[in-house]
Symmetry: C3
């Protein structure tokens, strides 16, 4: 989980209004002869669109420091002033996500090396070695100057460190730092050998210098090495982040600091990074054919990273991107609906990448609020401006609300790396999809969900669901057992409890440290080829638990050691053997799902758990309508109609829609893709 | 388009007969103990097959210069004599397409470097850096000796420089030459920064030395860099070509010079190279499942490259190749039909790769006139000999005819690079396929088509079609507008007028410099995922314009600014918006197609244009029969039956078939795969 | 095939019982605090499972030699003693398949270089250059110490050199050794140029130093170079093997020596290696969806490699692997059935990888007899123990039996490389699948088959089938002709007789040196695209030869030169031309199959040949039941039911089942997946 402890927080963010705006890169236009006019037009249009915050400087290093010994802040001073005059705040980037050309030329070892040993060439962004000392020194010098120059500016709201972290490297400096990291983790080389089981294939290290990063043309036989290197890369990026943060907290202790998460970066362990963010922020780019629960899943993760504190939707596109495999336009109303969905899941902002469409470069066809056409008479600008006007209706009290979830989905980065390790018995693991398989069933029932790490306290939850929890430490296993014994409900699935934190197999019977909690022993597992199905038969049927479901991907052969079978397999030589088990342990209960049921099967499972635990949706809504509840000094219900038809929702009491100010006595009609934010009327 | 100007031409080629023959590599047999007999047998069989030209020396560098200081021309002298005695001409290769092993060993930097920085190893062909000075020096020394030795030989007809150009390289010498090339193009580094929009992602160059070739592990974020590097590679290959040409023109000013084009090489801009060819030549290798219009498309491009001058079919296979994904035999009659199709589109030769099948190497299974069996009693030899006999029937006057096209299809290499740039909003662009989509509809109606560059004069055409013209300079836009104003008809499609010649987006509204000509503004575009369809409804229906068609791939959202909608979309939120527009501008008219219609839709478009403009086929023929017309001192109609059934063609006047010498009064029957060359009988 | 001659054999292996056991890696547990107990438990469980042989030391180099100057044999001494006390024998690995980390660090050139020139990094196994002198020296030093220390140990049964050979390398040392190898093969450089046909593309070598290994970024145009480099790699690995073998034969002349084959390694020519094995051994890992004939094919190859001598099944999995694309469990009974299938095809052992499941590393999820659970109360352990008990019932006389095959399938590694060379006219060749296409039809009829090299004597066979024999030397062609003339029956197919041993095309007419034997001339070939079919019509129909069959992939155009057409093509321009021919030559007959018939077509061919030649199955059995016969002092029929239903087999005489000791008078019922080993009862 990284060896950094959260530092001192900058002051919390207070929201007098939802942030609205986007990435603004005025330096892109300084090559234009009428760039001053473009800037003035930008500010005019921002006001027209209701913008109150822009992200500046994200990629401005070359514009701010054209040579190692020369700084040119003047243009940024001007922009700050122009924005401040219009009461537009600034989220100031530290500009370190893309080093200038002169830097790569002067310090070629700044460029990362791939796992085959090939040094990258200058260009693009995030193209640096995360352990390189020259990069650290030069980026920190810039950050100090930025902090000193703008720290007290009236427009400054927030620091935005680098951008969408994720560099990887396998150079000699990284190898050296990796060895240091391992020494901290394991102490002696003998311990590393013991934990990584290097006795296989004569891999035993007899000198620290022999330990190197993994490589497809070198060591790729040790899952433990792979996973530790992934931990290391996350930590080295975090160390780079914290190097900038330390300066910002020193110079501007009053300004909050964060970096933006995006795309569920595989190399960045968000749970390890979250304590070092003053506020969580997220770049949201769902694919055009993603179902709405997939965005919700990410939103809930963001909200959960800091225990339900409001977070920021920092980027989304107003129309389309150019980098997905397929890039159709967002249909009218979709951008608005997606924006409110973020708010419904705890965001306090709606921001876009980017303000004005770039004239060149890789993202020149990425949608923007102001398109290449350049004026405001476009569908997209009008939709953005309409949303900007609406957001002003949100009362500050609404922005201080939180969501309460009694259900947690357990997720962990090292576990992700372990599940999708190429040396498992199945090539068809998709950890995130498996999490979403369970998440979707909860979302469809409008049950609020937190997404938590196995190292977090569980006691505030009625139900914890941990699909594919293959990597479980002794301590994590004990915490889960304690949680169940004290009355919690825990559900896990096949391929769980297989390895410890060093990816050593648990001996003595799967699922290792979860075995006692679940009351089972998994003797064998049968990874099914794609298309091969088995069947689940529910036993002890009730109104809430019945039927037959198909299942796929994997079947465990489970012995009951106290647990009872809730469902059995219908086919193959293990027909009649337990497929879903239930166990009462202490004051709580635990469930084991020995396969991947189809969607209907997972829905029946959640139905049964909802019934047993009395889990409730905030309001009763028809299918396709999403409802969430944010609570604080006031209680707000967010209603989102994801369907192309009007939907009617019955209300338990009269409510007022914040967006229309209308009061609804008994029911409310939501138009296609429509939204309402309801507050009890009296 | 490259900075080379066409040099002095060698004398034009006069055709007393169509060239017939192929690549002949006698040096491949010198390792054989009875090689003299093989050569004598070759010459005997050539006479039997009607051969009058062979390409010699294409890959003979090692045989001509076995060491840097040793030349061995004697064997080539002998071959020249043997051929001359049989009145067989020689197209003499400069032998520089594959350097000898000793050269790569002595000058390792001759070997090219890939974009990751990996130096190639010796071997294969075209395996050299196009800017390498040692390669240039040594190849030019050889060329001078060849020119001096054979320039006055009575068998010499033509110089064939190198072969199928296309080397690419990313070495330090290329980087240096690229910077020089850019300095010529942009002058100051500030201008390059401005044109490439390097302000994105801090890519600004502050020293020329920072500018490097693109790389998948370096700079790949700047479309402008990618496109300029492609221009540069085409130019550097052209510079190498011109280095050889200069010597040939100096020593043998009376002998025409060319190199052969093939496979629509992406890295070689044919329009830039064509002025430097004394005659255009083409290697034709259609896939077995290509429709006949695809070969015709390439033939028409070759003919157009030098304004309709006769060109040479320099290579085709008599039976099959070994390097396509699938390599079935050409069925009996297919080779003959394909040969006449080339003549029908302006070729004055039919030549093959190769004469005698190789005994080893990569192409040992490539078909040849004389197979491994070695004698003439084969189907393939007999078909070749029959065709050789037929070609002798072609009168010289027929070879001095030209084709007249009133329709032009616009094509450009830089535009190709821009359309298929990986950073556009669609991964599914296929520029050549889009050109062929329109070409096919014209071909099916037997309307003659030139294929021209946007930099060529348009005034001789009634109709110019420019699909996917995404890259348009100010000057090109103005020329198109002038053409329309003066009465021309212009049609273009979606994703046109997006960027200037430096791949900067056109601001102020798409389609940029074409907007006034088309009378529209494209506000947005919607790239559709594969399989997603929309519908075109024709408005203002007439006999020549009616119906409903499906369309796919892309839909623009078009505002009419003077233009009228000819068809509208049927689905989605832009249902009812213009899908095809028409605009009268000056004396002419322009059309915009905001999507990709299906084949029937494109056919209806061409039908309407044909009707409005009175475009006519040379003769009326049934579907599946192709007809072209070559005109000069005589008028010849080429009839080609692509179907496996006999077809009857009505004749407007009595005509004589050149191949059978028969006169047909009213009609002619074409047998399956049959051919006729008709000349008015009286 | 390779220039090594078989050395002096170690004494043959005498089998008092079938070997039973598996790979045992006790050093993997020495990091555990209770490792002594684990070892004791291992030995207890081995006895319980009926184990009598374990493979030790396969990957123990690091454990035996933790530094270049330090050896630690003590733990191995202990294991030897513990095993010997329980009468468990040892197959001792030379431990050289994976060098220790210290070795790669001290001698970095031990690491192999890929064909692009990239040096591998330390890690995994088989990660060494097969020509490296340091690797050879150090591995041989270890081998000598092992031989001296354990050569006389009472537990030692067999030496197991390295493991699953197959390293490849393209480094400068390999290039140098390759040149030496070529000098031995070709003598003068001129001869190499002549054989490789380097005159193509100016590839002529003028100095030995110019000759380099093939490379995808260098020379890949010469099939002859590719094939010779594959021969060279097989030979260099063999040289490394023989380096170890020489020491073992010197120090322990009484102990047999072998290495294990696996997976039909493309780079290791088993026919060249077999003479240097004292016994053949095989690691059997059929895919879960492989039909049972595929395992049988490999078993028959193993048996044939040393003329029918018993061989060893050295590895299989008791349950599943983790490295196939799909890794379902072996269903109950499958492991037993597969084990007996090996015995049925001449194996005298059943062994597993591995004894105890690894706790880490790449194969930690590979099945094992003792799973991570660690005790014997598992399905897998019980099945293994049951089989161990059964195998004790096999009489020693049964282990001295051999199989007699009157049919041979011809296979050759260089031919494999030639057929699947990327420069042939078809991308769809799969040599092994084509062999199996014919093998399957023989197997289904329970006709015993040897799999032999074209260099082996043919005179003991009634029928020799040589599919896709594209590479045929003059000598091989003569031997086949001699075989036919003296009464043999020979069948070959399309794409045969194309090239000589240097991959030079045969001139004068395909199929080159087989043409006279077959009485045909193949003028042309037509490689069909996938999905394109033709039809075979049988001519001269009889009860044993009739019908119409589809065929695909390839059609030859065949002229009869004495042969008669047995079937003709039904479609295309060669409809009516011969598709299958028959020729009587001397006392024998030959058949040519000019296409790939479907399975029914091949079955009809084999049916006709079986009928003509009187080939017989050992017993008549229903489809899905396999029967083989091992003969010696006694005659044993192995019956294997591959179906999930009980099958009844009629017996020609009363027989006794070795496994149940029951006598069956007239018939025997085989349960699903059931096995019987029948010996005539009286």
């Amino acid at each position: 989980m990284g060896y950094y402890q959260a530092g001192q927080r900058g002051g919390g963010l207070r929201f007098s209004a939802a942030f609205y705006g986007g990435d603004y890169n005025p330096e892109q236009w300084m090559g234009d002869k009428n760039w001053r006019e473009i800037w003035q037009e930008d500010v005019r249009l921002m006001s027209k669109a209701g913008v109150n915050l822009v992200s500046l400087g994200i990629f401005s290093w070359a514009a701010l420091q054209p040579a190692e010994d020369r700084f040119t802040f003047e243009w940024l001073d001007d922009i700050f002033e122009m924005l401040a005059e219009q009461q537009i705040g600034v989220c100031l980037g530290t500009a370190t996500a893309a080093q200038p050309s002169w830097l790569s030329a002067a310090y070629p070892e700044v460029l990362p090396m791939d796992e085959k040993g090939m040094r990258h060439k200058p260009g693009v962004r995030l193209n640096y070695c995360p352990t390189n000392e020259d990069f650290r020194r030069l980026s920190q010098e810039l950050v100090r100057r930025l902090a000193e120059r703008y720290g007290d500016h009236r427009a400054l709201r927030l620091w935005h460190v680098s951008n969408e972290y994720g560099p990887t490297c396998y150079c000699e400096n990284c190898a050296m730092r990796f060895r240091d990291w391992l020494k901290l983790r394991y102490g002696r080389l003998e311990e590393l050998n013991r934990r990584w089981i290097t006795s296989i294939w004569s891999r035993t290290y007899t000198d620290w210098e022999q330990v190197r990063p993994p490589s497809s043309i070198g060591e790729h036989s040790l899952p433990a090495l792979q996973i530790d290197y992934q931990r290391f890369l996350s930590d080295m990026n975090l160390e780079g982040y914290l190097g900038e943060v330390a300066i910002l907290r020193e110079v501007t202790p009053h300004v909050p600091v964060m970096t933006n998460f995006h795309g569920l970066t595989r190399y960045i362990d968000y749970f390890a990074w979250a304590p070092h963010q003053d506020i969580i922020s997220w770049d949201s780019y769902p694919r055009h054919n993603a179902t709405p629960d997939m965005a919700a899943f990410h939103f809930d993760l963001m909200r959960s990273l800091k225990s339900g504190q409001p977070w920021l939707l920092l980027e989304q596109t107003s129309s389309q991107v150019q980098w997905h495999q397929e890039n159709p336009l967002k249909r009218p109303g979709v951008m608005r609906l997606q924006s409110y969905q973020a708010l419904a899941h705890g965001s306090n902002s709606v921001m876009f990448f980017q303000w004005r469409q770039a004239r060149g470069g890789r993202e020149m066809y990425h949608g923007a609020i102001v398109s290449h056409t350049g004026h405001e008479h476009t569908r997209v600008f009008q939709e953005v401006a309409q949303l900007g006007a609406e957001l002003k209706l949100l009362e500050p009290a609404l922005l201080e609300t939180h969501m309460q979830a009694r259900v947690a989905l357990m997720m962990s980065w090292p576990n992700w790396w372990a599940v999708e390790n190429r040396h498992t018995p199945s090539r068809y693991f998709n950890y995130i999809a498996e999490l979403q398989h369970y998440y979707r069933a909860l979302w469809q029932r409008n049950i609020a969900v937190d997404i938590i790490s196995p190292d977090q306290p569980l006691d505030s939850y009625q139900l914890v669901i941990a699909p594919l929890l293959t990597m479980v430490s002794e301590e994590q296993g004990a915490a889960i057992e304690q949680y169940v014994k004290e009355g919690g409900t825990f559900l896990t699935t096949y391929f769980s409890g297989m390895v410890d934190e060093s990816h050593r197999a648990w001996l003595g019977g799967y699922p290792g440290p979860l075995r006692r909690t679940l009351g089972i022993w998994v003797e064998e597992f049968d990874p099914l080829p794609p298309g091969k199905m088995n069947t689940l038969f529910c036993l002890r049927e009730t109104d809430d638990w019945n039927g037959t479901y198909s299942c796929e991907h994997w079947c465990d052969i489970v012995h009951l050691e106290g647990a009872q079978a809730l469902a059995v397999f219908g086919q193959d030589f293990y027909a009649g053997w337990p497929a879903i088990t239930e166990y009462h342990h202490g004051l709580g209960q635990s469930f084991y799902v020995a396969t991947r049921p189809d969607a209907a099967g997972v829905d029946m499972l959640i139905n049964m758990l909802q019934s047993r635990l009395g889990l409730r949706a905030p309001l009763l809504v028809p299918p396709g309508v999403e409802v969430t509840c944010r609570e604080g000094k006031l209680t707000a219900y967010f209603l989102l109609n994801h369907l192309p038809e009007t939907q009617m929702i019955m209300l338990p009491e009269p409510m007022r829609d914040v967006l229309t100010r209308r009061v609804y006595e008994q029911d409310i009609q939501l138009s296609p893709l429509g939204v309402a934010i309801l507050i009890p009327a009296y």
